[in-house]
């Protein structure tokens, strides 16, 4: 067989060839009878992309565009007439006198509060857990499983369980707080800010394992030699963490941050089941409100407009996060790639 299997037109770093084999040269040299031409056709990459592209189109592009269309109408799919209202569904959201504006912005604020408190915790705590789990100690696998276990539970299980555990009058949480002589009168699900503490706490407990596993995988990818070198240079463990671990985690950190951010901004099940939005409408998140408006009240046009406003916010935040991480990436190690 040909010794130089072409990898598309990609240049292999470190390869001894001066000139990368171009598609044309490969095609000329290796076109023999009985062997299929290896010259990549123009549409070959598209062929590979096709299955995903198809799914992406059907389940993302089309619904998104259709969603915009819906948001421009007073849309109730069970009714024959769906009058066009233009941007009214959007302008209504900014008009304090309209039905949905008040509750929508309350729910946006709720989403904001939840995200603000849950994301930092979900970035830092799993990292600490991952650092611990990365050490060698007896029973390590057991503890890894313990931290990951809640993540496999569905939101209904988690929600229902904590709803009863957190119940301020009959729940175990307050009972044990009382046993230890701590204040045991907190209304975890019906008063503020306790409800936020409860929701954030439950979410952290529930999803911490996922981020931990990703961190753990990333930690194991950091070459041990780097730590050895750092140790030889006399770096203490904090310095090792600061100058070896953190830079090594940076690419993963972007992923984890964006992912956690979006997951937190999409929080719905926890408040739906644990607090049912109480007190009043205070812990109703944006997704909760959108679901109520669209699926229960059948105001799908308004709900679609709401979700586009939410999307816009999420996109802005994602851009900011990307921008933040890219900025930092350039500063430290540029020569870190050497062995």
């Amino acid at each position: 067989m040909s010794s130089q299997t072409p990898v598309g037109s990609e240049t292999r770093v470190g390869a001894s060839v001066v000139e990368a084999p171009t598609a044309a040269s490969v095609a000329r040299s290796s076109h023999r009878p009985g062997q299929s031409p290896t010259r990549p056709k123009r549409f070959t990459p598209w062929l590979f992309l096709l299955p995903y592209l198809l799914l992406f189109t059907v389940f993302v592009i089309v619904p998104s565009v259709f969603g915009i269309w819906i948001s421009l109408h007073e849309w109730d799919y069970t009714l024959p007439n769906k009058p066009f209202v233009g941007a009214e569904n959007y302008t209504d959201l900014f008009d304090p006198g309209s039905v949905n504006a008040g509750s929508f912005w309350t729910s946006m604020r709720a989403t904001g509060i939840f995200t603000l408190f849950s994301v930092p915790l979900l970035l830092v705590l799993p990292l600490l857990v991952a650092l611990l789990m990365n050490r060698r100690f007896p029973g390590r696998n057991f503890f890894r499983a313990v931290y990951f276990a809640p993540y496999v539970l569905g939101v209904a299980v988690v929600g229902l369980m904590w709803r009863y555990l957190l119940d301020n009058n009959i729940g175990l949480v307050n009972f044990y707080l009382g046993v230890f002589g701590l204040p045991d009168e907190t209304a975890w699900t019906t008063s503020l800010p306790a409800a936020w503490v409860a929701l954030v706490g439950v979410t952290v407990w529930w999803t911490l394992g996922f981020n931990s596993v990703i961190y753990l995988a990333a930690l194991q990818d950091i070459p041990a030699e780097l730590y050895e070198a750092a140790a030889v240079d006399g770096a203490n463990s904090w310095q090792q963490f600061r100058h070896v671990t953190l830079p090594g985690l940076r690419p993963i950190l972007t992923f984890v941050t964006i992912n956690t951010l979006i997951a937190s901004a999409n929080m719905f099940g926890q408040s739906y089941i644990i607090t049912q939005g109480a007190p009043g409408r205070e812990t109703r998140t944006a997704i909760y409100q959108i679901a109520e408006t669209g699926l229960r009240n059948f105001q799908m046009g308004d709900a679609a407009a709401m979700s586009y406003v939410l999307t816009l916010f999420l996109m802005m935040i994602s851009v900011i996060v990307f921008w933040l991480f890219r900025e930092k990436k350039e500063k430290p190690l540029t020569s870190g790639g050497t062995k």
Binding site: L79, D167, N169, G171, T189, A278, P279, G280, R296, F298
Partner: protein
């Protein structure tokens, strides 16, 4: 009871139907929608059909419904019923979507207060012919239950039962406090609470902020002589002085120390099952669950705190989905199913419900049941008006106002006014949306 009776009934029905077929066909141009699969012939002798049957009996009532379905199938060899049971809240979200997509049920059960909504959304079809065939008429039902099944001059539901709020009390606690009779009005209720407290039951009446708090609130509004919504569906009036009085009374239970503050979702019910609280108001559909829990309890009508005796109630109604209407065989089989269920609704009393038909109620099925004292008050049961979309509006507004009021997050009047304004806006939008 039975088989023969039912047989003759069907024969009779078939005869009537045969004679009246032309006449019925002539006058069955229901204004509300299409006629389901031609006129009902009283029995089904076509090829074997499988009916998709949807209901929301997820609680203590579920097993009894399953049993009735099994009995029905045993008696009807050519009709197979496939039941799908899901939470009511999911049910009402999924049903329109499923029917629109052609994946819905053929027959099902829904609440009385949803019939108008689903009819307006063209999810269900009229069943006037079925009511005629069964010789069902207003005589056999309480007026309100019967009338609320009509939307735009067509009947959409065949009532199976009525179910209301009830007052459950722990009989041990009552005995310990020396209360011999369940309280019936504001004075005796207050007296009972005071006695219970004196007997060492610190919080005898937990006041929920969420379900079923709004049902308690509605009951109290009616007791005070008010109405939560205008009959024409154009306005929410639950912030009227009567409404404010109702919610204020609910909050006063907390202020006076009969209820702990900040009662979380479901916990008043759990507390009652644990014997931590002495009295709770909840639906009669909880009877089997309470019996099973083994606590010593009894049920009584909700006391009249206001001036009139009134209590919130609802009714499970059989409906025919638009889907079945396209297939005459399915439509007829579904009607046979509904007819059988209606005639055998005495069985349903075991599920803790009150059969909707007076003839069934009077047949003695309620004798000795827990719900018997409540069934006697059927005249004072009140139902929400048949306004499309009202259920969703209420969940969005009244429920929030009640929660705020009970939790003390806002003064009752302020919470009610704020949410009533919002409800009125939503109701106006609905009126426009559903036309006429």
């Amino acid at each position: 009871m039975g088989k023969r009776l039912r047989f003759t009934r069907f024969m009779q029905g078939a005869a009537i139907a045969a004679v009246g077929a032309l006449a019925l066909a002539g006058c069955s141009g229901q204004p509300g929608g299409e006629t389901a699969g031609g006129d009902f012939t009283g029995e089904y002798d076509g090829p074997e059909v499988t009916l998709q049957y949807w209901n929301g009996f997820t609680g203590g009532d579920g097993p009894f419904m399953e049993q009735m379905v099994d009995e029905f199938m045993a008696e009807h060899e050519n009709i197979k019923i496939e039941s799908t049971t899901q939470e009511w809240s999911d049910f009402y979200q999924k049903l329109p979507a499923a029917v629109t997509a052609g994946e819905g049920p053929d027959v099902g059960v829904m609440h009385l207060d949803q019939l108008a909504t689903m009819a307006a959304r063209n999810v269900i079809v009229p069943v006037d012919d079925l009511a005629d065939e069964l010789e069902l008429s207003a005589d056999d039902f309480t007026e309100e239950v019967w009338d609320a099944g009509v939307y735009h001059d067509a009947r959409y539901g065949i009532p199976l039962d009525v179910h209301s709020l009830a007052m459950y009390y722990n009989t041990d606690h009552f005995a310990a406090a020396g209360i011999t009779e369940p309280p019936t009005d504001a004075a005796s209720f207050a007296d009972a609470l005071a006695k219970l407290k004196a007997a060492g039951f610190e919080n005898p009446f937990w006041m929920p902020a969420l379900w079923p708090a709004h049902l308690m609130d509605l009951s109290l509004i009616w007791q005070n002589g008010g109405e939560p919504y205008s009959e024409d569906g154009a306005e929410a009036t639950f912030d009227s002085p009567e409404g404010v009085e109702a919610l204020t009374w609910m909050r006063s239970m907390v202020d006076e120390g009969y209820s702990p503050a900040d009662v979380a979702a479901d916990s008043q019910y759990v507390a009652f099952k644990n014997g931590e609280t002495s009295i709770t108001w909840d639906g009669i559909w909880q009877i089997n669950d309470l019996t099973e829990s083994g606590i010593p309890f009894a049920a009584a009508p909700v006391p009249t705190i206001g001036s009139d005796s009134a209590v919130w109630a609802n009714s499970h109604n059989f409906f025919l989905a638009r889907q079945a209407a396209a297939d005459a065989n399915k439509a007829n089989a579904a009607k046979v199913f509904i007819a059988w269920m209606s005639e055998n609704s005495g069985e349903w009393a075991k599920a803790g419900m009150i059969p909707a038909r007076e003839s069934v109620r009077d047949s003695g099925v309620l004798d000795g049941t827990v719900q018997q004292p409540i069934a006697e008050q059927i005249g004072s049961m009140r139902f929400l008006p048949a306004v499309p979309g009202l259920g969703a509006v209420q969940a969005e507004t009244l429920e929030v106002a009640v929660a705020d009021g009970v939790l003390g997050k806002a003064p009752t009047e302020e919470a009610l006014t704020r949410e009533a304004d919002r409800a009125t806006q939503l109701m106006e939008e609905n009126l426009e949306k559903f036309g006429e």
